[in-house]
Amino acid sequence: MRVYLGIVFLLFMTTGHSRTIIAGQGQAIASLKKAVGLAKDGDTILLKNGTYREGNVLITRSITLIGEANTILDGENKHELLTISGRNITIKKIQLQNAGYSALNDFAAIKIIDAFAITLESNTILNSYFAIHVSNTTYCTIRNNTISGNPSTEQLTGNGIHLWKSSHALIENNHIQGHRDGIYFEFVTESVIQKNLSEKNIRYGLHFMFSHNDHYLGNTFKNNGAGVAVMYSKNVRMEQNHFEENWGPSAYGILLKEITDSHISNNTFLKNTVGIYMEGSSRMEIQKNAFRNNGWALKVQASCDDNNFFNNNFHGNSFDVATNGTMVLNKFYNNYWDKYEGYDINKDGIGDIPYHPVSMYAMIVEQNPNTLILMRSFMVSLLDKAEKAIPSLTPENLLDDKPVMKPNKL
């Protein structure tokens, strides 16, 4: 009902008596603050080229603010720039820079509080603490923005796109780099994150907590300090994303913690220290993903159960699967493993002997990480061969009993 009302309201405003206010340096209305003060619901403010140092500007009416090629709002490292609270507000083509840092407030270049139907489009946000900070907002669209932080320490940098307690958000086609977390979701539901590029952030490319029924697809998360973390959520769909070069002792393509009833499909995990790390997760469907050249394609902790891994392809990973226990309550089937050395006598495309994706050496490395220095040595391959002949240390029932002989079509 609220949605419906909102749309009706929006239509009314735009078809009504909407004006365009031209403001800016050299204009009759020289400052943004003044233009915002004059604007009525439904008006559009066109802010001309120039650098505006006006401190914090509060927008509460349903207006559209549009910039030109060089319209710059500068916070001089001490102010929050735009604070938005209302409905049907659009900010477009503005460059916001040097928003201030505050240890007490989460200062942001654009802060949206208690709002409805907000659109942020094609803005550039440079060198801010938080770039876009959204709380308690419904129907927020953040699209085509370029966000670039000045990464220092985890404490001194805020998140790129930060959403808290919101729903029905659409985060699309943004490029975010150099923040603490590229995209941060907490208590955000029914939202879509798609086609974003989140890279070189200090902590996570995407950080996701207590956010149910969300869908993220076609994003690229690259070279982030710790990859992507998805925690304490259910019914999440993750599709067609790329997780690349997330390197470090605690970096993961995806870290899954207490995730249930979710889908991970058609993603590509390339050159991550760990492709997917899972703990306390249940009833996941992990299918049709490509794992290439990762350190560990999967680390499945013993606290996971009832997960299905099928139709995935594993290529050139240093280790396919590692685990910390011998209890295995997950199923692997119809995956392609490049290390599989079995045969297929009946030519049905499925290997006749099961594949054990956890090698003896993977268990040794779990116990004593220093032994990583012996990877690919003759001795290690002898150990692995011996273990294959007489299994003793590796979990016996962690196996793919129907490994496919040729890579799955993804």
Partner: protein, 255 residues
């Protein structure tokens, strides 16, 4: 020196062993690239060839060659040639022929099918290990009294570097797992040229896993310029020191 090496080379080529070795490497490498679904798996098999077969063949070939050239060496000794020059010419001839065998047998297929960082690292390591184990084999031959002892010593040394050393490292790492062993393992790796070469290739092939290591110490170290200099320097030492020692022994040896 080159003049003498030419005769050594000529003698080696006449024996056809080196041609067989080249063909063997070439056929194995080519078929690996042809048969395997993906090149990374072929590279993995090649890695084992580089780390295991290349040192083994290098050692055995060099040792046998040394004893077979005993007459030649004797003849040269009665000529106005210094012993250093005679042994260096032998080394040059053997090393050059083994290197050519490796670069034709493995290098060409790698350049054709896997011309990337990993492939190049593989070739660098293979080349360096060829030189290292030729040096070590010369030392073993010069020190051993007869052919049987020489080949025996070469095999034992190979076995030690290829397998036993890593077993000892594993034992040490587990025995002292309560202590910080990172720096120590770094030192250990320098004590075995095969390990050093393996880590060098791993840095390209398994970079993702290495980054997972606490503090990413190995990557930080071996990946840095210092690390590359370190690897190159230690490899060079592994080539030069056994050869220098062999020369020292050879110069004082009664023939």
């Amino acid at each position: 020196m080159l003049k003498l090496s030419r005769y050594v080379l000529y003698d080696i080529l006449r024996s056809r062993v080196i041609i067989t070795y080249t063909l063997f490497l070439f056929i194995v490498s080519m078929s690996l690239f042809q048969l395997e679904e993906n090149d990374s798996k072929a590279i993995l098999s090649l890695l084992n060839i580089v780390l295991i077969v290349v040192p083994l063949i290098g050692m055995i070939f060099t040792t046998i060659h040394y004893y077979n050239s005993y007459e030649f060496i004797e003849l040269m000794l009665s000529q106005p040639l210094s012993r250093t020059r005679i042994l260096m010419s032998e080394y040059g001839g053997v090393a050059l022929s083994l290197l050519s065998a490796f670069f034709i047998g493995v290098g060409v297929p790698v350049l054709l099918f896997a011309f990337d960082e990993t492939g190049l690292a593989l070739l660098f390591t293979g080349g360096a290990l060829t030189l290292v184990f030729t040096s070590i084999a010369f030392l073993a031959s010069v020190k051993a009294r007869d052919k049987a002892r020489g080949i025996g010593a070469a095999l034992l040394l190979w076995f030690y570097f290829a397998l036993i050393f890593d077993g000892l490292v594993l034992l040490i790492l587990f025995a002292f797992s309560d202590y910080p062993m990172e720096k120590f393992t770094l030192v250990l790796s320098a004590l075995n040229p095969i390990d050093l070469g393996r880590i060098f290739i791993m840095l390209k092939m398994d970079i993702s896993a290495l980054m997972g290591y606490t503090g990413a110490l190995y990557k930080d170290f071996f990946g840095s310029n210092t690390g590359i200099l370190f690897t190159g320097g230690i490899m060079l030492l592994w080539i030069v020191l056994p050869l220098w020692w062999a020369l020292k022994v050879f110069r004082r040896k009664d023939l």
